[in-house]
């Protein structure tokens, strides 16, 4: 058993912490982490609940491989109804927090209700306690983590927390753990803030002892690690360049959305790329990148640790940003950079640090700024309204707007709404590059057709991590498909979406899927967990999770009409690159996708499908 079979239920209204056994029947159907936590959520809340009402719940969950030597086995998932999306939200994060939760002897924590005053959960093995967090409220994630470690006098305590963004209701607030790892998307941090829950601090020394067959598990994890090491992407590309390895690649194929998706290639992509992070700066002769770093148990180590140029305008008077800190990943570099036309690497890193420090999703923040910049250039928003000149390409505006959003000041309050609500407020909802109110990530849905369909159908709003067809369409993993073609993409996407559900539910990182297929994961799960975990079953589990999430969203009031892309992607063709002249074929692909999924033309799962999946 990879599970501890123990759930902590924290009722914030009553201030109680109660252990309960894990529902093993559900564990057998949904594996763990994303799947299992979602099962708990959909079983316990009214889908129509206001995400910020006490009746919403928030679950932090590990998977059966979390805390084990399975490579990347350190992840945890935050599942709730998303503040940004009004859909099921599921954000997962690496770092060390997830493994610590497992080592404390728990599989998941269910937070319900709302605390009358700010609190944090202190969890040391079996001992769970809600403690006053009045002194932490208003503090950044960095200060919170440091303060708790100092209070507990235990540098090995692992902390996740919300910053000002989560406290002030920024709708894309994330939860930050281990200083710069984030459960970033869909506003899970906003939900946490609405519950007056500032942080969770964990120290676990019980370890994981319940692996079903240890020798088999060691053999399976060792073999799978070798696959990662031998693969060019996970063995060399990601450790050396991080996910930023993609910046130049995606730009060259004309799929790097630029200036709020007006363009698909960014003239300054090279300046904000992985290669640029390795280059020595003229100012101080040092490279931006200090080293790579791993999350718990990860043998890839794509994480970036960067040090800023101390003379850069954004930080020259703020020494606290001079130390080594979490650096730019591809998504953040794109959303803060290309999406706004900003080619200043140091400015991007500064804002990236602000996002970590104050707990904001850099994707949604960056692209919301992109939308604001377009509104500014169109004259819809004035300098007076924003408080500053905000044309595309302005690093100064980007930095200032990040500070304002984190602090909840001025126009920052509009940016805090996310692009969908902000653009609607100013009469141009079409300028929000989002699905289900969640902003696009860093791939253009026109020049990579499959990912466009993925954004449209993602259960948590636009997202690349629910079905990363880019692996196939760009990198040829596991087979190369034509990014501009629509044929075969619904089938490809479904396979990716279902498999991803299993990766996410096991407690491992989806980046392993650059090298691993489900066949590499299956022996690890089988050796760790009781019961049958064949390929057939895992495929079924993945599909079951997808359909369960879908049903929740339908019950929450979403319909097939929400499976759509903004008009720009359907009507404004790519101006340059290999996809020049192409628009998204989402409307052609959608009926096929529904069919492949066993859904009605309206996007509702057929009874037969539900029965087949045991839903």
């Amino acid at each position: 058993m990879g599970w501890n079979k123990k759930v902590l239920r924290v009722n914030l209204t009553a201030g109680t912490c109660t252990p309960e056994p894990l529902n093993m029947e559900w564990a057998n159907d949904y594996l763990g982490s994303r799947g299992l936590a979602s099962k708990y959520l959909v079983s316990e809340i009214d889908p129509k609940v206001d995400p910020l009402a006490p009746e919403n719940k928030m679950i932090m969950s590990t998977g059966p491989l979390t805390g084990t030597m399975a490579s990347t086995g350190g992840r945890y998932t935050v599942v709730t109804k998303g503040a940004l999306t009004n859909a099921i939200a599921c954000s997962n994060s690496g770092g060390f927090f997830g493994a610590e939760l497992k080592y404390a002897g728990w599989d998941m924590i269910i937070f319900e209700g709302k605390s009358p005053k700010p609190v944090y959960l202190a969890l040391e093995n079996d001992k769970a306690e809600l403690r006053d967090a009045a002194h932490l409220w208003g503090k950044s994630c960095w200060e919170t983590e440091e303060t708790i470690k100092r209070l507990h006098q235990d540098p090995l305590t692992r902390v996740c927390s919300i910053g000002g963004a989560g406290e002030n209701g920024v709708l894309y607030a994330g939860i930050i753990n281990d200083l710069h790892r984030a459960a970033g998307r869909s506003g899970v941090g906003t939900v946490m803030g609405s519950k007056n829950l500032k942080a969770v601090a964990i120290r676990g020394t019980k370890g994981v002892s319940g692996i079903r067959d240890f020798p088999a598990f060691l053999a399976a994890t060792t073999a799978a690690k070798k696959v990662l090491a031998d693969n060019a992407v996970t063995g060399q590309g990601l450790p050396t360049y991080g996910t930023q390895v993609l910046m130049n690649v995606i730009n060259e194929m004309g799929a790097l959305p630029t200036r709020n998706h007006r363009d698909v290639q960014f003239e300054d992509a090279g300046k904000i790329s992985a290669e640029a992070m390795h280059e020595k700066r003229p100012t101080d002769g040092k490279a931006h990148l200090v080293t790579n770093a791993a999350c718990f148990g990860c043998t890839i180590a794509c994480g970036r640790i960067s040090k800023m140029d101390e003379t850069h305008f954004s930080v020259k008077n703020s020494p606290k940003y001079w130390g080594a800190s979490g650096g730019l990943e591809y998504e953040a570099a794109w959303a803060l950079g290309a999406a706004n036309g900003v080619g200043d690497l140091e400015a991007l890193q500064y804002v990236n640090m602000l996002c970590n420090e104050h707990g904001m999703d850099p994707i949604s923040f960056g692209t919301t700024v992109g939308a604001a910049m377009e509104l500014f250039e169109l004259g819809i928003l004035s300098k007076e309204q924003i408080g500053l000149e905000a044309p595309f390409g302005s690093a100064e505006a980007l930095c200032k707007l990040a500070e304002m959003t984190a602090a909840g000041e001025g126009f920052g309050k509009d940016l805090a709404l996310g692009s969908a609500r902000m653009c609607a407020k100013y009469g141009r909802p079409d300028l929000s590059m989002s699905v289900k109110s969640q902003e696009f990530p860093a791939y253009d849905g026109r020049s990579i057709q499959g990912i466009g369909l993925g954004y449209a159908t993602s259960n948590r709003g636009a997202c690349h991590l629910r079905g990363y067809t880019v692996a196939s369409e760009v990198l040829g993993i596991p087979v190369k498909t034509d990014p501009l073609a629509t044929e075969g993409k619904p089938e490809l996407l479904k396979a990716f979406q279902d498999a991803t559900g299993v990766f996410d539910s096991a407690g491992i990182c989806v980046f392993t899927s650059f090298a691993w297929t489900l066949a590499d994961v299956q022996p690890q799960i089988q050796a760790a967990c009781e019961g049958d975990w064949s390929m057939e079953k895992l495929n079924l589990v993945g599909e079951r999770i997808w359909n369960m999430e879908r049903q929740f969203n339908l019950a929450a009031g979403l319909t097939g009409k929400d499976d759509d892309l903004p008009p720009r992607l359907k009507t404004e063709p790519c101006k340059t690159g290999p996809g020049k002249g192409v628009v998204s074929g989402v409307e052609q692909m959608m009926p096929i996708y529904y069919q492949v999924r066993g859904w009605t033309p309206e996007g509702v799962p057929e009874t037969a499908t539900l029965e087949r999946l045991g839903l």
């Binding site: 060390f96 020394t205 002892s209 200090v290 791993a294 999350c295 718990f296 990860c298 080594a324």
Partner: protein, 158 residues
């Protein structure tokens, strides 16, 4: 040729696979809090440092043991705790100036790196070769020892 652990912090990514492997080897559970090698994270320098016993020649722990429970493994040269003899008095834990021998309250004994009988599991588990097991001459072991003597020994040759 006797071998020893060679640690290159520059290669460490902080993944803690070594801690998992060590704890599993010695306790049968995956539990980094029981690992005999610990990775320290110097966050603001971007530096991770795996840290364990250097099997130092001076062997404060061994000399301090009142009941002869720490012995030299003749094959690996490791200073090894004989659990059946250790009474748990903890004198070694304050004698070792490196802090690499620790008392485990649950078993009432001390524990330290024993080089896994010559097949250190942290080495096998390390994905980046930040921890290697190499001929003692290559490791700068003498440098380490001289450092130890300089910085920590009660005794220095006059």
């Amino acid at each position: 040729m006797q071998k020893s652990l060679h640690i290159d912090p520059g290669k460490c990514t902080g993944c803690l696979q070594c801690e998992m492997a060590c704890s599993y080897e010695h306790t049968g559970a995956i539990n980094p809090s029981k690992s005999r090698i610990k990775v320290f994270d110097f966050e603001h320098e971007g530096r991770k440092v795996p840290y364990t016993c250097t099997q130092c020649a001076d062997a404060w722990c061994m000399n301090a043991c009142p009941v002869d429970a720490i012995v030299i493994d003749l094959i690996t040269g490791a200073k090894v705790v004989k659990e059946s003899t250790c009474v748990g008095c903890k004198v070694c834990t304050i004698a070792c100036p490196f802090g690499t021998i620790n008392y485990m309250a649950d078993v009432g004994k001390v524990q330290k790196c024993d080089l896994c009988d010559g097949d250190p599991k942290c080495v096998t588990a390390c994905p980046t070769a930040a921890i290697t097991y190499v001929d003692a001459d290559w490791t700068g072991l003498d440098r380490m020892r001289s450092w130890a003597a300089k910085a920590n020994t009660a005794a220095v040759a006059a």
